[in-house]
Structure formats: structure tokens, C-alpha cells
Symmetry: C2
Subunit: 174 residues, 2 copies
């Protein structure tokens, strides 16, 4: 199915070259590569990665509810709640009940949190611009467009609360 770059050697199978052309590998390796770089910058500012994600989401839209934040920050809700507690202790966020529905809790940035979020978003834009320059702005625009479509179809907000059906062939030997 995939082209052989090298003649097959003893002990190798017909699947040689699958991983390096596999969309899920490419997405995971690209994401991990660029995120590892930027997360080093985040930690150098004394901020943990989940805190950075929450700060960025709240900088976009302050006063989000925990459920919204969990989807956008790519975190389990129980984990997010724990991080929000710690961020409240650090005076980066405050929690207030929703004005219309007192049972719902909204999360807001403090002045300190907002200032830290702005600095980190600025760092993130600079780091991102470096990557976009490398791959050319035109290709980066297509990349973002296609990724946004995958996120809309398969991302955290596309998934219903329960399971998501995926095609799964009957068990068979190939």
C-alpha cells in the first residue's frame, strides 16, 4: 500500500513505512514536537501547562463555565476543577455563581491572572509565528483550515457526552 523507500530486508513486513505516513502519528508527533518547545517557555515563567491552557481560554472569553473550559482546555472536568482550585489559591482566578442560575459556577481572571495570560499569549504568538514562517504562511493557512475541520468533526466539542461510534471491522487476520 505504501511505497518502499528501501528494498525490504529479512524480518521486515509489507507494512514498512506505515507509521511515518499515518495521519494520527503525524498529528501526534507534530503536536508533541511544537508543544514540548512552547511548554518549556511556559514552565520557565513558573506556570504549569494546564494553567496556561485555562489562562488562554479565559483571556479569550472571561467568565466561562467549568464544562466549557474543560472542553477547550482539553482536560477532564475533575482535573480542571482541581487546577482551578489551585489557581484560585494563587489569586489568578476567582469563581462566582452565575447570575441567572446560582448552581452554575463561572471562572473569571483576576487582574494578576489577566496580566499573566496576556504575557503568555504574546509568547505563544511569537512562537507560533516562527513555525508559520518555516512552513510558509500560505501552507499554514491551509493547515489551520483543515485542522479546524478535523476539530469540528472529531474534537472535544464534537464528542457527545456518551460514547462516539467509530467504524470497527470484524476481527480478522490480514
Amino acid at each position: 500500500m505504501t511505497a518502499h523507500k528501501h528494498p525490504p530486508e529479512a524480518g521486515q513486513t509489507a507494512d514498512q513505512g506505515f507509521v511515518r505516513h499515518y495521519l494520527l502519528y503525524l498529528l501526534a508527533a507534530a503536536s508533541e514536537g511544537v508543544s514540548t518547545e512552547f511548554h518549556a517557555q511556559v514552565r520557565a515563567r513558573g506556570v504549569r501547562v494546564p494553567e496556561w491552557r485555562i489562562l488562554a481560554c479565559l483571556a479569550d472569553e472571561d467568565g466561562q463555565m467549568v464544562t466549557q473550559l474543560a472542553a477547550l482546555a482539553l482536560m477532564e472536568q475533575s482535573r480542571l476543577t482541581k487546577i482551578i482550585d489551585q489557581m484560585a489559591d494563587k489569586k489568578l482566578v476567582t469563581r462566582r455563581s452565575d447570575e441567572r442560575d446560582r448552581r452554575r459556577v463561572r471562572v473569571f481572571l483576576t487582574a494578576t491572572g489577566r496580566s499573566l495570560a496576556r504575557e503568555l499569549v504574546e509568547d505563544a504568538r511569537i512562537h507560533e509565528a516562527g513555525i508559520i514562517d518555516q512552513i510558509s504562511p500560505a501552507q499554514a493557512a491551509i493547515l489551520k483550515h483543515v485542522l479546524a475541520r478535523i476539530v469540528a468533526l472529531h474534537g472535544p466539542e464534537a464528542r457527545p457526552a456518551g460514547e462516539r461510534r467509530t467504524t470497527r471491522p470484524a476481527e480478522e487476520e490480514s
Copy 2:
């Protein structure tokens, strides 16, 4: 910097809309979304995700060394070694010393491991084909090309053993 889709509301900042257009978010959310789906299929076969990654890498090239495998399977070497131990207990892989350099250990699939790897690679191709159909094969080809470039520049094999320098601006308020 980014276009406002909605008029800004009280409590929102000028950064509204950063996250949803941020390359690192799009990569992480797309990767997490499609991987979550496929990993459910992997677990349904009684295989753990790191085991699937190692099986796929060995199906591509049998007899890889632990260092190679760790980069391609996106794992810390210490974690990989532990998973390889467990896979050896399950008779999915065997370890043999390199013929030229006895200190180097190579990992090989057993017949059972190879058969399981083939089934899973077949599942992965079917799942991947479903995503490629959704986003159109032409756009998928561009996507893979650009992702491969990012992986080459920033991925696990691009990173030198030590640190990787990234641009980091002086601390400043924006």
C-alpha cells in the same frame, strides 16, 4: 490581531478568539480527537495504547533498537523499556543483542505479535480512510505533507539529546 466574530462584551479582552485559531491548540485538539476514537478500538482488542504504538513501529521495521523505538513511539525511553518488558511477558516481542555490538538490544515481533500488529494496522488504515474521506483526499495530502515538515523540524527525531533553543522574548506586559 484576530478578527472579532462577535462584538466584544464586558469582561472580555482583546485576545478573544486566540485559542481557536492557535496552531498548537488546533494540532492538540485534532490529534486528541482522532486518537481518542481509534484508541477505543485498540483497547477493545485488549491492547494498551503504548503497546499499539510499539507494534506498529516494529511492523514497519522489525528489530529496531530501544532508542529508535522511543522516538518513533513518542515515549520516554524508561517507559518504553517497561512496556517492552510487559510485551515480552505476553509473548508479543522478543529481545536479542545486536550481532555486531552485544551491548545494543534489538526488539523483534513474535508470530503472535506480528499477527496482532497486522490486524491493528488494518484497523488503523480503515479509521484513517474515514477521516481522509471527510476532509477530502486532496486536502489530506497537503495536510500530511505540512505535518511531515513540522515533524521533521520539531518532532521527536529533530530534537537533539539536550535542550532545544526556542525564541523567548523578554518579560513584558502587552
